[in-house]
């Protein structure tokens, strides 16, 4: 990559040359074994996904058969009661909202860091900065959770009161005091957790912008910022989107950090700053230990919904990326 910076070869040269097809008889044993291995891995992946889906569906059917509430609209989770009443409305809301907050906070910062590393920072600074970002990805989620619960929560009240003063009229940022263990806090912690993934993938994409484009822009008299706006960002857009989707996937499924930070309750509030709400993964972690048979099936049913949401989100991202075929981070 460092060579690429200085020599700047045209991008076509980076593509692997099309290998000539060997005739069937000339195929080596190694080729056949490798083909078998890679085909087997591909099939194994599909089988595993199908098995997970089948397991989730089967247990979900068990749970739904005994549910006395409406699975989609009930604001309650009493799966171990008799009769069991539970619904995923609150969980779906909390999962999506906290992830969206995380994305809104993390993606701009991540793109900024990625641009800084790829286009602004001197090389002496860029490399260590890259390592620090990698390090952030290696911190276990429970550590983020503990940091959030023990450090962030006690220090957030001030910010929340400030937001209440200026934005409270929207209702969304209404804050009535109390420990700041809300969906917004969860969003902040999640934002930090997905920062490394989004940053790293975006950085890789920005580094692949053809030097010719940038140099052409410079030759036309563009400033650094105009170069980034005209050649880097358009080229990297789909890559940044797929990076964000990777991050979103992590945010949607995050368990321990959310369970540690959030103060869950089965209500949907307009205010994001007041405690309450819940997410799928957090609810499963909290409920599994003491759950009976129906309780477990119900939790697994909520897991299926999360599975479907993740699938839809990923599918959506694929579609956006497919629209721009020049470069796709998902294919990298």
């Amino acid at each position: 990559m460092k060579i690429a910076d200085t020599i700047a070869p045209p991008p076509q040269q980076e593509l692997p040359p099309q290998a000539p097809k060997p005739s069937k008889s000339a195929r080596h044993r190694g080729d056949r074994i490798f083909l078998g291995l890679s085909r087997g891995s591909g099939i194994a992946l599909l089988v595993i996904m199908a098995a997970i889906a089948a397991f989730l569906t089967w247990r979900t059917a068990n749970a739904l058969a005994v549910n006395e509430g409406n699975f989609f609209t009930t604001f309650d989770w009493n799966a171990n009661a008799d009769p069991p009443v539970f619904g995923i409305a609150v969980l779906a809301f909390g999962t999506v909202v906290s992830s969206v907050i995380a994305m809104a906070l993390a993606v701009p910062i991540a793109v900024g860091i990625a641009l800084f590393i790829s286009h602004y920072a001197p090389r002496r600074l860029a490399t260590p900065l890259g390592y620090v970002i990698d390090l952030l990805a290696a911190v276990p989620s429970i550590v983020y959770g503990l940091w959030g619960a023990l450090f962030l929560v006690p220090h957030l009240s001030g910010l929340f009161y400030w937001m209440d003063d200026y934005l409270g009229w929207t209702g969304v940022f209404d804050y009535s005091g109390g420990a700041a263990r809300s969906l917004f806090t969860v969003g902040i912690v999640l934002a930090i957790m997905i920062l490394p993934i989004v940053t790293n993938v975006s950085r890789e994409v920005f580094l692949q912008v053809p030097k010719m484009h940038e140099e052409a822009a410079l030759a036309l008299g563009a400033t650094r910022w105009e170069v980034i706006r005209m050649s880097v960002l358009p080229f990297g857009r789909s890559g940044v989107i797929s990076a964000s989707m990777l991050g979103l996937g992590r945010a949607l499924g995050e368990t321990m950090a959310v369970a540690t930070v959030l103060s869950p309750s089965f209500v949907i509030k307009l205010s994001l700053l007041d405690p309450g709400g819940g997410t799928f993964a957090q609810n499963i972690a909290a409920g599994f230990n003491e759950a009976g048979d129906v309780g477990r099936d119900a939790l697994i049913a909520s897991g299926l919904v999360l599975f479907v949401i993740t699938l839809v989100v990923n599918g959506g991202a694929r579609m956006i990326i497919a629209r721009r075929k020049e470069y796709s981070g998902a294919n990298a």
């Binding site: 276990p140 989620s141 619960a149 692949q208 309750s265 230990n289």
Partner: protein, 375 residues
């Protein structure tokens, strides 16, 4: 470029691995007591333990009695190195299920077996059925964090209103009336409950429901039924949050209050003087209850609205669950020997030192007889 990417992938997978292992690890100890964990008194002599049987003795269940069982195991193991007792605090529900599937020798549970569970147990207990043996009492303390207030008296209706967010300020008339000599600040009350399902919640809400049925109309359950207030994961989570939030109140096992330096509420039960959450008061509280199990079963029913002097009514009684007949022959001797030690005077005395309440004499004698007759 290629090289870079592999590095990145490797970093990501290391991260993923760390995350998974953290999950697995943290899933085990939701009810761990951080400060007192398995800290058994060295002074306890291990002279009176009768070792019988050998091999691995597996058990699982209630995390509320984990520290008690750990302390017993430590002492028992010192005296009887031939038996390896392994208690896995998976939670009562999971413990009962494993026992009913025949995976463990006995289960620990925060609540007595339900009828259909007893029926189910006849499959694993050949010629017998599962019975409840009350072994450990645990006072559930109501801890609060209110700067400047070092003594606080509350009664059941007030507590119910606080936890149902009907009373939202510390200087509420109802609280003032119970604490005429205390200067109460106008702080907002933040009532913390458990976000996970728990026997502690079950017990606490049973108390509220029986001692203040009008103020607490919700059906007692392991899951928190009311809507308001804040919640946190595990007793450790509730205690941590109460400790760091001014104006907070929450409920947890007594050891968490002592461990986190949290002041506890004295209960106005209608007795002459407000009752403090202590080990002795809890044992008195358990004694106010009675055995309701039939046919050799020793399940207890507690008297939550007791007005007896010095009887603390919010108590968690946890059981060991075993077969009365038809225990696995190769585990029977070791199990009897371990449970005999746990129910012995020595085993019970040890409980008080780690903030659990010993089971009162009249009950524990019956438990001892029962353990003797297990087959």
């Amino acid at each position: 470029m290629k090289l870079q990417r592999t590095n990145r992938l490797r970093a990501l997978s290391v991260g993923a691995l760390a995350v998974t292992s953290a999950l697995v690890l943290s899933a085990c100890g939701s009810d761990d007591n951080t400060t007192q964990g398995g800290d058994s008194p060295e002074s306890a002599a291990s002279g009176n333990i009768e070792c019988q049987g050998e091999g691995n003795l597996l058990a699982s269940g209630s995390s509320a009695q984990k520290n008690a069982v750990d302390a017993w195991v430590q002492n028992y193991q010192r005296a009887c190195p031939d038996t390896k007792v392994n208690y896995n605090p998976t939670g009562s529900g999971a413990g009962i299920q494993e026992f009913l599937q025949g995976k463990t020798a006995f289960a620990g549970s925060d609540s007595a077996l339900k009828e259909d569970e007893v029926e189910q147990s006849k499959e694993v207990c050949e010629g017998g059925k599962a019975i409840n043996l009350p072994m450990v009492g645990g006072p559930v303390a109501i801890g609060y964090n209110l700067s400047g207030v070092e003594e606080l008296v509350l009664d059941a209706p007030t507590i119910a209103k606080i936890f149902d967010t009907k009373i939202t300020q510390w200087d509420d008339e109802a609280i003032k009336k119970l604490n005429p000599d205390v200067e109460l600040p106008a702080t907002k009350i933040q009532a913390f409950h458990r976000s996970d399902e728990s026997g502690t919640t079950d017990n606490f809400t049973t108390y509220l429901n029986e001692a203040a049925p009008e103020e607490w109309p919700y059906e007692p359950a392991k899951a928190w039924a009311a809507k308001g207030g804040q919640s946190a994961n595990g007793s450790a989570g509730v205690a941590t949050n109460v400790a760091q939030t001014d104006g907070a109140i929450g409920y947890f096992e007594l050891s968490y209050a002592t461990g986190n330096d949290i002041d506890t509420v004295k209960l106005d039960t209608g007795a002459g003087a407000p009752v403090e959450a202590t080990v002795e008061n809890s044992s008195t509280g358990i004694a106010a209850g009675k055995i309701v199990g039939t046919d050799g079963d020793l399940a207890m029913e507690l008297d939550y609205s007791t007005k007896e002097e010095g009887a603390y009514p919010i108590i968690l009684v946890t059981y060991e669950i075993a077969c009365d007949k038809g225990n696995k022959p190769d585990k029977l001797e070791a199990m009897k020997s371990f449970l005999t030690y746990a129910a012995s005077e020595e085993g019970q005395d040890q409980l008080a030192e780690i903030e659990y309440a010993p089971i009162p004499d009249e009950v524990i004698t019956k438990v001892r007889e029962k353990i003797d007759s297990l087959s």
